[in-house]
């Protein structure tokens, strides 16, 4: 079932979701980037804005149009909602040698992820596989993930650092959403093709005004998809990662290690990097303690700490761990690539290291000069 609504349809949709008791998280402009935050109205969406993304560079640019989804992926990923930066794991008290573990209430928010892109949707699916593993389900993640209403937005204008087409994760979502949107240019402004991907999505769609979609609308949407695929700024050949993994002595590893700051930005920006550390805190009297899970990065020295020294002391080893985990060993672990092609690690690397370029170089026999 598909309909077409005008720009006011988005306001109506947000209203319906809010009326259903959901907090709607959507793209907004903050601190000169497009990121996301809770929104109440459609006029908070980034109307008239797009982004220019390059390795190590992001600029917000006015489009002069009324498009809302004219940008690529927002600067921050969605993982912070489902796996927050910091999560309380255990809280306990002690009296003498006796311990009391305090019961934890897990928050179960009702969110609508509004305008989530195809790559980011795929990333949620990847995180699901990690944290909803039936043998060890993460309660915080499960509770936060359980009731997310997904309104996806197909990408019309991928960024220069995007390569979801290579990763088979976009630019148009095919599943995993309740409703999907495609922004379409119309003679008298902008309109949106809205399709339902679930029963509850169909219910919402049924209460939205708008006209039924015509074959022409679907045609136009498909054309947008084709243009977007062509417009991807980056590509990653699927045969390259295993070749790179095998090239353990390739000089490019040293070369990238010379450029890498080991700052960890790529892992923090990545929508699927899930690693964490635990922190123990105590009050001054030592009678109360809390254990927190905090996002961690494989670029830190502590990450591989063993008594007697870290396993991966060199930046080279850490970069290799990150790159090959993302693109190679993730397949063995979780049955898919860990990379969805959103390009964030390229854009948000302060020195613009580009994993697509690194993989291509590592996969080629040619020695780098």
């Amino acid at each position: 079932m598909a309909i077409v609504v005008g720009a006011d349809g988005l306001e109506e949709l947000i209203g319906l979701l809010r009326a259903d008791g959901r907090s709607v998280i959507g793209p907004v402009v903050r601190d000169s980037v497009i990121t996301h935050d809770e929104i109440e109205h459609a006029d908070e969406l980034p109307l008239g804005w797009t982004d220019e993304q390059e390795g190590g560079r992001y600029r917000l640019v006015a489009t002069g149009t009324d498009e809302i989804f004219a940008s690529a992926t927002p600067s921050t990923s969605w993982k912070r909602y489902v796996q927050p930066e910091r999560t309380l794991l255990v809280k306990a008290r002690r009296a003498g040698g006796v311990i009391e573990i305090v019961d934890q209430q897990v928050e179960r928010p009702r969110w609508a992820f509004f305008g989530i892109r195809s790559c980011d949707l795929a990333a949620l699916g990847i995180l699901d596989r990690v944290f909803l593993d039936p043998s060890a389900t993460d309660p915080t993640y499960a509770a936060r993930r359980a009731d997310v209403f997904v309104v996806s937005a197909a990408c019309n204008t991928p960024g220069n650092t995007c390569f979801c087409a290579s990763m088979d994760t976009g630019p148009t979502p095919t599943s995993g959403f309740d409703l999907s949107l495609r922004e379409l240019a119309a003679d008298d402004g902008i309109e949106y093709l809205v399709e339902a991907g679930s029963d509850r999505g169909a219910d919402v769609l049924a209460s939205l005004g708008g006209r039924p979609a015509t074959p022409d609308d679907l045609q136009r949407s498909a054309a947008c998809h084709d243009i977007a695929v062509q417009a991807m700024g980056r590509t990653l050949r699927s045969e390259d990662p295993p070749l790179a993994a095998a090239a353990t002595d390739h000089p490019r590893w040293d070369d990238v290690a010379d450029r890498c700051l080991a700052c960890g930005n790529c892992t923090m920006a990545c929508p699927t990097c899930f690693c964490s550390t635990t922190e123990d805190h105590t009050d001054l009297s030592g009678t109360e303690t809390e254990r927190w899970r905090v996002w961690d990065s494989c670029f830190t020295l502590d990450f591989s700490h063993l008594h007697g020294g870290s396993v991966r002391t060199s930046t080279k080893a850490r970069y290799r761990q990150w790159l090959l985990h993302k693109l190679v060993t993730w397949h063995d672990q979780f049955g898919s690539s860990g990379c969805v092609g959103c390009g964030r690690c390229i854009t948000w690397c302060p020195v613009g290291i580009d994993l697509t370029a690194e993989i291509a170089a590592l996969a080629s026999r040619q020695e780098t000069p």
């Binding site: 700051l261 923090m268 830190t300 020195v351």
Partner: protein, 264 residues
Amino acid sequence: MSRDRKPTLAVWKFASCDGCQLTLLDCEDELLDVADELEIAYFLEASSATVPGPYDLSLVEGSITTPEDAERIKEVRRQSKFLVTIGACATAGGIQALRNFTDVDELLRIVYATPAFLSTLDTSTAIADHVPVDFELRGCPIDRHQLLEVISAFLVGRKPTIPGHSVCIECKLKGNVCITVAHGTPCLGPATHAGCGALCPSFDRGCYGCFGPAETPNIEAMAGALAACGMDDEAVDRLFHTFNAWSEPFRSAPVRVDPPRRKP
């Protein structure tokens, strides 16, 4: 797991601005609790009363810049069971370590008419260059939460949660937008030790390295990134050489930088 008596705390000052020890008094919500758990035995900024050593926990602020202080720190070490240095002065020689790169007589002449009155060493050096140190807490000044973390960890025998990674990780944990990438602002965060909570980027300002070098910084790549944001060589050099100038690898950071190498 139980304590027979309150452990004693001593706070020592060497060449410094007092900011780091003031951080303890800035723990307004916790100060009286700290005093409940630790006997404040020697803390001249706060109390005229002093209890003789040895002390269970010593916090040492400031760097060693005079022959007398080089001797005094040895006595402090002898009196201290667990010695924590606090701040860039104590852990890296501080801003005053800029003298280490120049001729001290020249500096004396600039500031004083009769330099002969003064007794000073040629260098300003970290406490750890003189005596063994049990833990180094970084920052100019140190962060209040980190100071409390060190104290509470000391009290239970935990390893303090003081990560050695970059400011960038804190910056992202905080949900900041990277100002280098989004605004082109030069930022030393990738090479700087975490701890401040990514303060400067939160104020649209590039980090200037007041927490000193991170665990494994890549100085050359960092210098290149700063240059790419439009800093000239001298400015890059000065940025490395300010509050933690004497701390490696900032100390020998490149004076000349090439534009960042970017691969196709």
